[in-house]
Symmetry: C2
Subunit: 129 residues, 2 copies
C-alpha cells in the first residue's frame, strides 16, 4: 500500500467519516460519489489493506456480512444490528469481564457481542425474512 490513489482516499474517508460501521457495498456506494466507476474489487482490496495496516477495523457479526469502521473507534465496544434496515451501530458499553466465563480448560482470547432489534429510525413490526 504505497500509493495514495483517488479510490483509496475515497474509501478511507468514507469509513472515517461514517458514524457507524459500513458494509462493503455501503462503502462502494458512498465512495462512488467521489470516484465514478469505482469497482467493488477495489473496495474489497482496499478495505483489506487498510485493515491490515491498522487504519480501520473489521466488524464481524453473527448472521451478517462484515462491516468496517475507523480504528479511531479505539476502545472496546460492541454492535447493534437493526432487523429492519440492516444497518449496524456501535454500542459504547460493554458488560465486561462477566463475558469471559468459559468452561474449564478453555481460554478466552476475545468476545463479540451483537444485539439485534429495531434502530430508532425503524418502526417496530415483523422481521423481514
Amino acid at each position: 500500500m504505497e500509493r495514495e490513489t483517488r479510490q483509496r482516499t475515497a474509501i478511507r474517508s468514507v469509513v472515517e467519516m461514517s458514524d457507524r460501521p459500513l458494509s462493503a457495498l455501503e462503502v462502494l456506494a458512498a465512495a462512488q460519489a467521489q470516484v465514478a466507476g469505482l469497482g467493488i474489487a477495489t473496495v474489497y482490496r482496499n478495505l483489506k489493506a487498510l485493515a491490515e495496516s491498522g487504519a480501520l477495523k473489521v466488524v464481524s457479526l453473527a448472521g451478517a456480512n462484515p462491516r468496517y469502521e475507523s480504528s479511531r473507534q479505539g476502545h472496546h465496544h460492541h454492535h447493534f444490528m437493526c432487523n429492519a434496515c440492516e444497518r449496524v451501530f456501535d454500542i459504547h458499553s460493554c458488560p465486561g469481564s462477566v463475558l469471559d466465563v468459559a468452561p474449564k480448560g478453555f481460554t478466552v482470547e476475545r468476545h463479540e457481542l451483537t444485539l439485534y432489534g429495531r434502530c430508532k429510525d425503524c418502526p417496530p413490526g415483523h422481521t423481514p425474512d
Copy 2:
C-alpha cells in the same frame, strides 16, 4: 417435510447426538457414515427444514459459518469457537440482562454472544490465518 427418509433420519440423528453445534460440512461428513453418497444439497435442505419445524436451531456466529444444534438445548445460552480447530461449543451461562443495554430509541429483540479462544484440546499458540 412429510416423509421419513434415510438421509433425513441420518442428518437429524447426527445433530441430536452431537454434544456441540455442527457446521453443514460436519453434518455431511458424519451423516455420510450412515448414508453413503449423501449430497451436500440434501444436508442444507434438511437442516433448513428441520430448523423451520423447530427440531433444531441455527447457531449464527460472528465471522464463521452457521452451526446447527438440537433444539433440545432449549434454554438460552451462548457459544465458544476455538481459534485453532474451528469447533464450536456451548456455554451454559449467560450474563443476562446486562447485555440488553442499547442506546435510547433502540429496541433489543435478542443478542448473540460469541467467545473466541482455545478449546481444551488445542494447545495455546498462534492463530492460523
